[in-house]
């Protein structure tokens, strides 16, 4: 119990919250009315913009309250891993810009970057073989064992006000639906020689997932926490759920122990929230793409 309190204290000092503010946040959560007027399971408004990086195959910017992230997808031709000759490769890399938080300066953001990248990889890429991945890796294969697409997904945190992981997952989803991978034709006599054609294939990623992060504060859990609320949390569970309502990945952050039944509760809450979020995000992406087409 003592260690737990100490943990809370250190975090509160980092964000600079007084005892009164801490009590206010916790009291608000108890009464299902948070400091910004949301309920426990309400998301902040999402704003999506696609195609913002012209030199990438696909890109998107997502604003979730004051949290602002950019994701870009670049596709390059590569060689598949010998152990999985019929699968393409996807790598996810997240960068935390010091513009978001002065403490990310130099190598300061590296720890968080690694944590976010691996959490996203776990959610989107599934196991080593690519089984159960949010992205269908076999669709990236061009010639078995010879040529495949390497997808480089880069995330950049420009401004952070809590729940960066969700914002990144949403941005990556939006960037992937914005991604256009050129069609490739392979000539029969020279198997390693390929001619990327200019015409663009359909969206390859029909099934995709998103994550809802229920954060537990005290006895209740909340969704989409701001920085102040995150400073008060004892642990967080990030769940990524696909359109069929199946869980694709799960990460628990924070050191405090959780009752297993609470975790199950949180997962079902995440599932519930994700259904609304998925629809909202889809309409936002569609709106952003429509806006894009109008401009071009």
């Amino acid at each position: 119990m003592l260690t737990f309190q100490l943990f809370m204290y250190i975090l509160a000092v980092m964000v600079g919250l007084s005892l009164g503010e801490q009590t206010f946040i916790k009291g608000g959560i108890d009464q299902d009315l948070r400091t910004d007027g949301r309920k426990r399971l309400t998301y902040r408004p999402i704003f999506v913009e696609t195609g913002i990086i012209p030199q990438a195959s696909g890109s998107a910017r997502v604003k979730l309250g004051a949290t602002d992230v950019i994701a870009s997808v670049k596709a390059e031709l590569g060689k598949p891993n010998p152990s999985y000759p019929d699968k393409g490769k996807v790598s996810i890399h997240v960068d935390c810009s010091p513009t978001a938080e002065p403490s990310f300066e130099g190598r300061g953001g590296e720890e968080l970057s690694t944590e976010l990248s691996s959490a996203l990889e776990r959610c989107l890429l599934g196991g080593k073989s690519g089984a159960g991945a949010g992205i269908d890796l076999s669709s990236l294969c061009i010639v078995r064992g010879k040529v495949c697409w390497d997808l480089y997904i880069d995330g950049l945190v420009v401004s952070s006000d809590g729940n960066v992981l969700d914002a990144l997952a949403d941005a990556i989803k939006a960037a992937l639906s914005n991604t256009a991978i050129p069609k490739v034709q392979v000539s029969a006599n020279a198997p390693s020689d390929e001619h990327p054609e200019v015409d663009v294939s359909d969206e390859e990623f029909l099934q995709f997932d998103t994550s809802g992060v229920p954060v537990i504060v005290g006895r209740h859990y909340i969704v989409d926490a701001t920085t102040e609320e995150e400073s008060q949390m004892s642990s967080a569970v990030s769940v990524s759920i696909n359109r069929q309502g199946r869980i694709c990945g799960l990460t628990k952050r924070g050191g405090a122990g959780l009752n297993p039944t609470v975790i199950l509760d949180m997962v079902s809450a995440a599932k519930h929230v994700s259904e609304q979020l998925m629809n909202k995000l889809d309409s936002e992406i569609a709106a952003a793409e429509a806006c894009d087409e109008m401009e071009s």
Partner: protein, 277 residues
Amino acid sequence: MGLKCLAQHYLKSTGPSFILTKKNKPLRRRTASLSKMEFVNPEGLRLDGRRPMEMRQLRAEIGVVSKADGSAVFEMGNTKVIAAVYGPREVQNRSQQSNDEALVRCEYSMANFSTGDRMRKPKGDRRSTEISMVIRQTMEACILTHLMPRSQIDIFVQVLQADGGTRSACINAATLALADAGIPMTDIVTSCSAGFLNGTPLLDLNYVEDSAGGPDVTVGILPKLDKVTLLQMDSKLQMETFETVMQLATEGCKAVASYIREVLLENTKQLESRRGV
């Protein structure tokens, strides 16, 4: 005024932040045929359709990072950077604290997706360290540091798209962000670059022109005080041509300055109307 006399004048007016270094190029892809390319066609138009003395389209926006004390996006054509300013605040590292002036720090970073080829994670490489230093020295020259002793000002610039002239864009963005943060300055600093290709002085080089291997003069000025705070050139150039190219870059800086002033004025008007003054 002769060039020697000019140089002395600048040295006097700007002190230690007068730098002449060879720049490292931002991107690796450089084709041999570039040196023989036609950068200005017979009609007098450049590769992107600009005239030699024409600048790319400027766009600026203030207050893009809500958590920072001051922030701005600055775009010069396809080059796009974000700057965020935190401070003046308590000095984080006590040993760096100064009792008579504020500590100014700067970090420049490039996003992985900012260049044509995907960059592979070179954080804190020599190029970004050098640009961080250049930006810090340039901004230090205009901030009234003596008014904020025992405090620290952090300037973070993040390149989202790199298409030549990133350091100019970074300085312009940093100026806007500092102004947004309400940090006292003697004047705004603005920067612009100019080059010399196919016997023509060209204003505001883009990436293709920048990688042609010709001279690239980056100038930073304090427009109201009429002083040069930043001057960098790489490659070689005739004395007389240097003067005209530098003059062109300075004109570019003045054009940027008038745009920045416009943006700041517009922003202040908006703040005013929001407060109901």
